[in-house]
Symmetry: C2
Subunit: 421 residues, 2 copies
Amino acid sequence: MKGESRGGVSVQASSSHSGPTPFPKVPRVSGCGGCGPLCLRIYIALCPGSFARCTAFVPLRLSENTQLRYVATLALSVQDQLTADDDDDNNMPFDTELTRRLGIRIPVVQGGMQHVGYAELAAAVSNAGGLGILTALTQPTPDDLRKEIRKTKTMTKYPFGVNITLLPALVPPDYAAYAQAVIDEGINIVETAGNSPGPVIKKLKAAGVIILHKCTTIRHAQSAIKLGVDFLSIDGFECAGHVGESDITNFILLSRARQSLKVPFIASGGFADGQGLAAALCLGAEGINMGTRFMCTVEAPIHRNIKETIVKAQETDTALVMRKWTNTTRLYKNKVTDEAIKVEKAATGDKFDDMAPLMSGKRGREVFINGDPDYGVWTAGQVIGLIHDIPTCHELVTRIEKEAEETLTAKLSLASSKAKL
Amino acid sequence: MKGESRGGVSVQASSSHSGPTPFPKVPRVSGCGGCGPLCLRIYIALCPGSFARCTAFVPLRLSENTQLRYVATLALSVQDQLTADDDDDNNMPFDTELTRRLGIRIPVVQGGMQHVGYAELAAAVSNAGGLGILTALTQPTPDDLRKEIRKTKTMTKYPFGVNITLLPALVPPDYAAYAQAVIDEGINIVETAGNSPGPVIKKLKAAGVIILHKCTTIRHAQSAIKLGVDFLSIDGFECAGHVGESDITNFILLSRARQSLKVPFIASGGFADGQGLAAALCLGAEGINMGTRFMCTVEAPIHRNIKETIVKAQETDTALVMRKWTNTTRLYKNKVTDEAIKVEKAATGDKFDDMAPLMSGKRGREVFINGDPDYGVWTAGQVIGLIHDIPTCHELVTRIEKEAEETLTAKLSLASSKAKL
């Protein structure tokens, strides 16, 4: 592929792409009501033709300095991606069931993350060669999800998916309407998770959607298989968020999946690098799913303080809460989880009233906006201890691909005489 | 190497070995006070020249039928081993820091196991190409350990080690005397575990012994490095026995070890097969340590009912007890652990009195002799769910070697264009 250099950035000539370009040229930024001229000025200077993305930063209410930093790093990410596109034809894809079925290049899925899985992140992961995923319930209504899907399509030409997580709620969201939005917008990959996903999966399958279903036990995996899911996403005890109640680690769960499941599976929980991808492949997975690791990338639309908190954290900096209500959740250990653990210990019977304000999703969402890691609860996996930088998604996924290949090559060379011949 | 066939078993001509033969010919079985003539008769018929081992079964007080079964399977194991010796020269060893330093062929260590790590098992693992390990404290006195070491030497010409686990006790064993026995008998590999191993490690290091130290956190690993240990044995949350209090899984701990530790390490907890070995190597380990898996081999000197219990068990069939006393232990989930969990929940303060009879080591030892899995507590890892047969150690270790190599070869072929060239 040929490109031309503008302002230090290699920009694709649109004729060299079939289908929409990853970052279409937009003459003006509609709906940009908050970022202000600074954002635009820098973005346009660094990366002409790509500034449609800056609208994403309006809801983050960033200070001018933070805008500056975000936009600069985002522009570098775009530069990365455009450079990467040049290499596309030189790189053979990983050849796993996952890459073949989903039409992606590297078997790395960005898992659904509440208040994180917006268009910016999903498009960046897909542009990097993995599978980006929008989180349906982060959008207030099915119509908002439609808009987010359309926005993502303007930002990547590659496949991406939507996560629909079904959790117990007093007033459940209209899951069927979210699923319909996905179908109507032509999305053909959905990650499902949570309880009683049967009706949603049935609806999506009828529309020909490929389903990746997350589960934390082999028993749940077997139920999901009966529902006709295409891939299982096996989520070990080390994972962020809902870990289940069996506490089985991924070394065991993945091997058990290999031994007993008849559908392909990916490994979720505990992954941050190519050594992890190589290990997951060895245990029988077709790829990996990463959440916490993708939170700590340039494109993740969350406050930089939270990313820096992840970089500083140790593997021991997560906490489990809600076990008493058999809804165990792994969270970043902070002042709120410390308080929640005290309340949980003291709670008798089914009484959840004192926990509710601590576990508030609204406060959790605020964390990502105001950058105060102690403001509310937010999910993080034990893998938080393995994350030491804030790369672009392209840097990260490319690094993982390289590490995985180098690792398998190096380890095979240890293995036996045959390998040495 | 050449062998001759006797009674269907290929027996090595003694001249083909340098050093002691793995199973020396003993004209009579001294100290065989219980097994009786049946044991001897079958053993000699199936495997002439190897019957020195039958003395091991005296303390097990087996019925005649059980003797028959044991001896028959043991004889097959010997046959296996002798056949394996024929292949020795055709197989290149795995080339890891562990195999090089310990002088073993396959990077698989049989971890120390109370009431299981006797000469029979250690010798069988070492004969199979891994590292067998005697458990020092299973021997009532340091002198008994000397005898067990000498016995093991008559059963294998290959390196084996001794485990010394230091646990809090009202009347601690004379660890220094056990360490002295190890040194006096010329054992140059010791696995240490538990609290405050400093003095024992110092004594052993001064005698030139290679130390593998088990730990469940990176912090403890760093302390052990300061003591001069040669290898760390990184023990994830999935492991049997003392899991520590941080609950960090091996996917995280091993990666963290690779990122942060300056001494080589092996992976412990969660391993049963070659896919696991391949994955551990990918995460940076120099080999694996297996306990529960080796309990479920022909040569493990425990009642067959317990092995069959392991085969039937699921990964969810373990339980954690003793967390209240920060001495959390993973055990096979049975009637006694169910009771212990109830008592632990009800316990207030430091009160341990009601737990003590349930956690009795004496009753745990009886389990392995009488074959009743509900008789007392016995340790098992989550890996119990991955074990589906009772192979000989040779079958198992050979299978692991083959699986690991095949896995790495197959996965590398998925990885990239370069791998496909």
